[in-house]
């Protein structure tokens, strides 16, 4: 799951950059890029939660 989270994070950041490029394949869309950058950050958060040991009660 950690690897999946990392792959997703990288994929989201790549898509974000592609949206921000003036002549990117999807056209220039600032808001779409921000959305994918946030999704990338959330995927990193997911990875962080996967890295920790399970809670002890």
């Amino acid at each position: 799951m950690k690897a999946l989270a990392l792959v997703l994070a990288i994929a989201f950041f790549v898509v974000a950059v592609l949206y921000w490029l003036p002549n990117g394949p999807f056209g220039h869309h600032l808001k779409h890029g921000i959305l994918f950058a946030i999704l990338g950050i959330l995927a990193l958060v997911w990875m962080r939660f996967q890295s920790s040991a399970p809670a002890r009660r």
Binding site: L30, K31, H32, I34, L35, I38, L39, L42, V45, R48, F49, S51, S52, P54, A55
Partner: protein, 284 residues
Amino acid sequence: MTFVQAMLLAILQGVSELFPVSSLGHTVIVPALLHWRVDRSAPSFLAFVVALHLGTALALVVFYRREWLAIVRGLARSLLRGRIGDDPEERIGWLLVAGTIPVGILGIFLEHPVRALFGSTATVAVFLVLNGGIMFLGERLRRAQRSGGGQSRPLQALSLGDAVKVGFAQSFALLPGISRSGSSIVAGLLLDLDHADAARYSFLLATPAIGAASLLEIPRLFAPDARGMLGESFVGGIVAGVTAYASVAFLTRYFRSNDLRPFGWYCLIVGAGSLLLIATKVIT
């Protein structure tokens, strides 16, 4: 648009954004009913709408300021710890993050096509009737759950999957005439929240959605074409904020002991009445 019309629209926005009656639906139907000449695609009008939404989002942040502070602290704590703990605010924080994802994705990709497709006064009136029906159906299903022995659970007991479901329900508000708070409160009720917690989650969930959407549009406020209405936008934002604050204060008290049915009746009557006025060419 005159100054008085702008202020009336600001009051309408502040109230109807949080009452489960669809703000977008009302800002389409009321100007049409009063025969106001409002160019909804004009840069100055779009800037004005951004200011109204900013005012509404700010009112929600101020109203729930203590909760937001605790939520932000909780999110930071869980990030440092690397897991979501049992602290209610921490859990609610992540529920809000999960619930905001659907509306973020669907809003960015579908907002413009959906509004272009369903933005006419007649479709708004139909969706307003449907909005009333959703609230009645939600209350009916909720009562059936309770009579079957189902108990309410606290907001922090929702799972992240439940939060995403409420977030999807909130996305139905992309359809003009469907209420953001109405659909998310109904989804919360069907997930066994009581009315007060369903409304609280709905209003907290609305804050990042409305706030982020308006923050991203701030450049519109200062666009050269929008300068003609900068004064109206500024005052309108304050008026919308004040009315939104009063609305959320009223609704949080209201939902402690009341349900969605009065709003359901209101939407049915206004939607059906609007359809009648459209059929008789009073609204064009």
